[in-house]
């Protein structure tokens, strides 16, 4: 009985293996060439519920089938992409944060899709498009979402404590001190040594420029004056105890948001989704305003996060892959699904005026003009050139700032450490770096 079953099973497995081998063989030879032949694409992504958008594509396009694999987000997917590309079997498409694009391009993971992507170029604002060209003639991905930074605060707590929304970082510091005086158990916000992307956004707002290209040479200035100014500003607040210093995205941080221990969060446009998940108890109590400015009357912000859809160089069906990526990020039906199901703020211009964005996010029901003001803020986001080893700079950020917080040393020292590590890594790999 057992034996018979096992035999049958073995036969099935073998047959499946053989047929799989056959189809993939023939597929290699004539995919793309034969009209009507079905194209199979694999896609790695982490955005929540992005499967709904992929399903919609598959329903409408029987000849190009996309298979989604959900991955862990952020930096983890980059490591897996690099390893998979090195081994020669990356997916056809992948969700990639903007800051990881140079790393992936430099490792030959992503294809130049300038030609195929040309038709959708004008669907995106110039600043956004620049992020996927890296300032060259090539195009390495289709922008998906962007993360302009804004200031989120608990409107009810601000009222109760008699606070006004800080317009400048000086006012922000003053507000932080007032919170400590009036409600010693509360903090205005926290400085997180675990979130380099957040700090980078803050530095961008101050005008930081960490990488630059000069002919065949990279300029690296992670410790430029703007970044040091931002670092020491936050370091001062932490040192005097005006703000908290716990990392973000921990259970303790969730609780602090939930119970009103932390009453403000400089974050990005996707914050409502995070707050809804992490601080459900505070629904309707938050409001959004532009970031505090370094000089009164200025109007600038940075970006935190935001991602794109890259097409890999090893993929066999680049044309079909770009078709899918362009549809997903520029077609109104697709971006509507992304907004609704994955709660992202689309990078495509038309999508930003989608009827879905006329209503504020449910978590911010009181702020009717949420997306109108968000759109205005988004246009003030500074551009930024990412270097080929953002991963090293980011990883060093965590260690260096963690150390500076626990050792009570100046934050500008941590920025210097980031600079040293970033330059050393580039030199080790043979990049020409101007000092």
């Amino acid at each position: 009985m057992m034996r018979k079953k096992f035999g049958a099973l073995l036969a099935v497995v073998l047959a499946a293996g053989l047929s799989a081998a056959c189809t993939s063989d023939s597929g290699d030879a004539d995919q793309g060439a034969q009209p009507g032949g079905k194209v199979e694409l694999s896609f790695w992504a982490w955005a929540p519920n992005i499967d709904k958008t992929v399903d919609a594509w598959n329903a409408a396009n029987p000849d190009i089938h996309v298979t989604l694999s959900k991955q862990a987000g952020g930096g983890d997917i980059v490591t897996k992409l690099l390893t998979a590309a090195k081994a020669g079997n990356p997916p056809d498409l992948a969700q990639v944060e903007y800051q990881s694009l140079p790393t992936l391009v430099s490792n030959d993971v992503l294809a130049d899709i300038a030609e195929q992507a040309a038709p959708v170029k004008d669907k995106f604002a110039e600043g956004v498009w620049q992020q996927v060209t890296l300032g060259t003639d090539a195009v390495y991905a289709i922008p998906q979402d962007s993360g302009p930074m804004m200031f989120y605060y608990r409107a009810d707590e601000f009222d109760r404590l008699g606070l006004t929304v800080p317009k400048t970082w000086d006012e922000f510091a003053q507000t932080a001190r007032t919170v400590r005086q009036k409600a010693p158990k509360k903090y205005l916000t926290t400085f997180s040594a675990n979130d380099p992307g957040w700090f980078t956004g803050l530095a961008q707002q101050a005008g930081a420029s960490w990488w630059g290209i000069n002919g065949e040479t990279w300029n690296v200035s992670v410790n430029d004056a703007a970044t040091k100014k931002v670092a020491d500003y936050w370091g001062g607040l932490v040192a005097e105890g005006a703000i908290d210093k716990q990392p973000m995205y921990t259970p303790a941080w969730n609780k602090a948001l939930n119970d009103g221990t932390l009453i403000a969060w400089p974050s990005a446009i996707w914050a409502p989704g995070v707050l809804a998940g992490n601080a459900a108890a505070t629904k309707g109590k938050w409001a959004m305003a532009p970031m505090p400015q370094w000089a009164a009357g200025e109007n600038k912000t940075g970006s935190w996060g935001g991602s794109s859809t890259g097409v890999t160089a090893a993929g066999k069906n680049k044309a079909a892959a770009v078709k899918f990526a362009a549809w997903m990020n520029a077609d109104p039906a697709a971006t509507a699904l992304l907004i609704k199901e994955s709660s992202i703020y689309p990078a495509a211009r038309d999508a930003q005026s989608s009827p879905l964005l006329q209503e504020p996010p449910a978590f911010f029901a009181n702020q009717k003009d949420f997306y109108t003001s968000a759109k205005a803020i988004a246009e003030t986001a500074s551009g930024f050139v990412w270097g080929p080893n953002v991963n090293v700079a980011y990883d060093t950020y965590k260690d260096a700032f963690g150390k500076a917080i626990t050792g009570r040393t100046p934050f500008s020292g941590a920025v210097d450490t980031m600079q040293t590590a970033t330059v050393a890594d580039m030199q080790k790999n043979g990049f020409k770096v101007a000092s």
Partner: protein
């Protein structure tokens, strides 16, 4: 135990091949999934990436021979030495506590007139079923002052709020996770060894007026010594490889660096900084050190376990 007799007397060449045939699966798997990867790591450790130009064009990144450069960098890295020292300290803290508790619990379980022993035994053993990643996450919740029940408890007792994730105490927070995960397993090992000791030995001692405490110290512990040595050795190996717990807890605190233990440094190099060449060099170095440790270990194992079997 009599000396084993092989088939040499009867079937000549065919029989002589049998042991090798039987060992073939293990040897093949060993070669494929241990030796080959180690060899490959050794090869990678001698290589590095060379970028030409801006590194953005196609094929601008080449893998070249690096000689011993990766090893020199690793050996000159103060972080590697620091993390090695920390693991040493970690082992010296963890092993006595974990094995001491395991021994204590095993001896208590073996005592007469203990109530609820089956319940306690299962309860103490349960953490073995929890993956290190998840155990660290759970303890992380209990460590964070804002969500920890100990904060409330300390509040009721009028004690200062415990904050195990800051400063030096994070070291003990990690040790605690390892103790929690390991004490039950070692307890069961020691307890089972105790159960293998014939009960008559105790009866006569008890008749001589031995207390249970004296019985434990004078008779049971000496008899347990071989088992204790073995559990120590296996725990020691696990200790040198500590990695999951600090890596998971790291996201909750500012006090753990990415190179807190040697394996974390390898993980950082390979996974966060995408430098598999440096990671390979550090791997080879660590494999070398553990191999040296292993010689002592193998000697010990063979004396303990197979002393009587051979000769």
């Amino acid at each position: 135990m009599s000396t084993a007799v092989t088939g040499r007397s009867r079937r000549g060449t065919a029989a002589r091949g049998v042991p090798y045939l039987f060992l073939a699966p293990a040897i093949v798997l060993f070669a494929l999934f241990l030796l080959l990867p180690i060899g490959y790591a050794g090869y990678l450790s001698l290589r590095k990436v060379k970028v030409s130009g801006l590194g953005l064009g196609r094929n601008s990144r080449k893998e070249i021979f690096a000689g011993l450069e990766n090893y020199r960098t690793a050996l000159a890295d103060p972080e590697l030495w620091g993390s090695a020292g920390r693991v040493l300290l970690y082992g010296l803290t963890l092993l006595p506590v974990m094995l001491g508790l395991a021994l204590l619990f095993a001896l208590l379980l073996d005592r007469p007139r203990v109530r609820l022993a089956r319940f306690s035994r299962l309860a103490i053993f349960l953490p073995y079923a929890v993956p290190g990643l998840i155990a660290s996450m759970l303890w992380g919740f209990l460590y964070l002052p804002a969500v920890s029940p100990f904060t409330d408890l300390a509040g009721w007792l009028g004690l200062p709020e415990p904050d195990p994730l800051t400063g030096g105490s994070v070291f003990f927070a990690i040790v605690n996770i390892a103790v929690w995960g390991g004490v039950g397993f070692n307890m069961i090992v020691l307890f089972t060894s105790l159960r293998a000791i014939p009960g008559e030995i105790y009866e006569s001692a008890r008749l001589d007026g031995c207390t249970e405490f004296q019985l434990a110290v004078r008779i049971k512990i000496p008899l347990l010594l071989p088992s204790l040595i073995m559990t120590t050795v296996f725990s020691l190996i696990a200790t040198l490889q500590v990695f999951t717990e600090p890596l998971t807890v790291r996201s909750l605190t500012n006090s753990i660096s990415s190179t807190w233990t040697p394996l974390m440094k390898i993980y950082r190099d390979a996974f966060a900084q995408n430098d598999i060449y440096s990671a390979a060099a550090s791997s080879v170095l660590i494999a070398g050190v553990t191999l040296v440790v292993s010689f002592g270990f193998l000697r010990l194992v063979q004396r303990q376990a197979f002393g009587g079997e051979d000769r």
